[in-house]
Amino acid sequence: MDILSNLALGFGVAFSPENLAYCFIGVLLGTLVGVLPGVGPLVTIAMLLPITFNLPAVAAITMLAGIYYGSQYGGSTTSILVNLPGETASAVTCIDGYQMARQGRAGPALAIAAIASLFAGCVGVLLIALAGPAIAEWALQFGAAEYTALMLMALVASAVISGGDVLKGLAMVVLGLMIGIVGVDVNSGMQRYTFGVPELVDGIGFTVIAVGLFAVAEIVVNLERKDPREVYTGKITNLMPTRGDLKDSAWPIVRGTAVGSFFGVLPGTGPALSSFATYLLEKKLARDPARFGRGAIEGVAAPEAANNAAAQTNFIPMLTLGLPASATMALLLAAMTMQGIEPGPQVMLTRPELFWGLIASMWIGNLMLVILNLPLIGLWVSLLRAPYRWLFPSIIMFCCIGNFSVSNNPGDVYLCAAVGVLGYVLAKLECEPAPLILGYVLGPLLEENLRRALLLSRGDPTVFFTRPISLTFMIATLFVLAVVIAPGLRKKADNA
């Protein structure tokens, strides 16, 4: 079989001592930084990105992928032990995970999270290996109109699922698109919105935006809060889940994996939505729904499986279409571009060692994650118990060095401070930053494809509705919007 020889190639690449080492360092660093409360995968990758600049392409991507699922896993540890959801994807785990910890079952909760993540991760990677080539082939038919429609769908979806208000989510998307086009316009060579500042000519850097909006703003929000966060302080004695725990969580893990794999492929939705969706599903299916919120092990197993499966299948649009499905993927995409890899459907053919090497390394990495984390739990716990007044200056330090090392330019550090202020104001006004960042990522791509599509159609906007694939994406976009707006309207009609 073709796929077997491809996988053999991949494992050959991934098992080279060098790549194995980088994968390990990535997983370790990712978990270390991801455990810090309020630092999700996005910020972790943004801060650690400069570390990979001087590595060969395969090693760099392998390491970044390791950082990605390492920090994802670190986030789950945080949400079980601290009653403070660090990032949206593991916010759901917090509900039952922290309750389990308070009942003295932190060990089994952590173990089940690890097992669920491992299983889901392996399935997710398998899906990439199976579906990737087929989707890439399909994607070769995509023209500018299809890409435009697909991006529109992703943007609307991200606004809708951000958890906040849809109207503000859409406004944040538009704001993100505008921030994304700052810099030189590729078509005309004209500088836009640079206000004569040389640092803005190449656009506002990804690290600047990600770190400013998420890390800096989050720290200020935490500092201004009066109530101190609650950290589980008991000792973790027994890691092993009981036989009953395993039986209870087997099916939720499988269902969570299925839900997560599905949502992960859709651009704009990703891990956060899938963990919410699967939690609701488990609650519906449970014989005794009242247990949820009081330390039900299914409430940890299913969302953890879902967000890890989604974290893996999130790679599919990025690797096959060259289109980032989430802000985190956009960072990996940017890293690939920096390594001189032109992303898109052709990557699989032109750089098979990269594609299959990445896939194989993700399997190994997921396994490393479990082996690494179960014994190191004690270390993460002590890190979490460190008072926040030690943690936040350290996070700021990583932010500063991370920003500075991208370009060795203090201008980027100043910009990050400014973005932090904007991020804090937006957070206070309850505008979710996630849609903004996806808009920022897709801004230049969207403009380019929109221009090209309309140029080819001679300015006729119906082009998006006459081509079948594009039409499908447009209908999906409208459907997503309708689903959200309809209940609101009905409520209004009821009130009247």
């Binding site: 400069p50 109207l167 406004a171 086009i181 500092l223 932010c399 500063c400 206070k428 505008c431």
Partner: protein
């Protein structure tokens, strides 16, 4: 204007969006517009600015109706100090080297917390600073001066 408008969450958010939208359109007036078939550099941003104003207007009107307040106080003090600490790092790292920059950053940032214990902050600066130097300067060989004119040589 009623004073509580300044505390009206959606009103302020809407106002912010409209202001940014208007700014975008105003600046884009200097860029050639072109037509839909052959868009100039001003086309896309102008359209975006317009859409942002529309969304902003809707959010603003809803804010006036619901009158939802901003929850909690504004944390101007932590915001100011954290921002200052980042700015200080940027300003000092080039001029004085990474060690003075880190010291200034840690002490300013730590002042934003509720508790400030001098010895603790000093210890934190030394430990985390050493870690950062180990990873970034020694490990990754990033070309940063430690002090003015002092470089890592191995």
């Amino acid at each position: 204007m009623k004073p509580d408008l300044f505390d009206n969450r959606d009103f302020l958010a809407g106002l912010l969006f409209i202001a940014l939208g208007v700014l975008a359109i105003a600046v884009a007036r200097d860029y050639p517009m072109g037509v839909a078939m052959r868009m100039g550099p001003g086309y896309f941003p102008t359209v975006l600015g317009g859409i942002l104003c529309l969304f902003g207007g809707a959010v603003l009107v809803r804010g006036l109706r619901s009158g939802q307040q901003v929850s909690g106080d504004w944390g101007w003090r932590p915001l100011g100090l954290i921002t200052l600490s980042i700015l200080l790092f940027g300003a000092l790292v080039d001029r004085l080297g990474i060690i003075p920059a880190l010291v200034a950053m840690f002490f300013t940032a730590a002042a934003a917390g509720r508790e400030f214990r001098f010895k603790e902050v000093l210890l934190l600066t030394v430990v985390m600073g050493a870690f950062a130097l180990g990873v970034f300067v020694y490990g990754l060989k990033l070309p940063y001066a430690l002090f003015p004119g002092v470089w890592w040589t191995s």
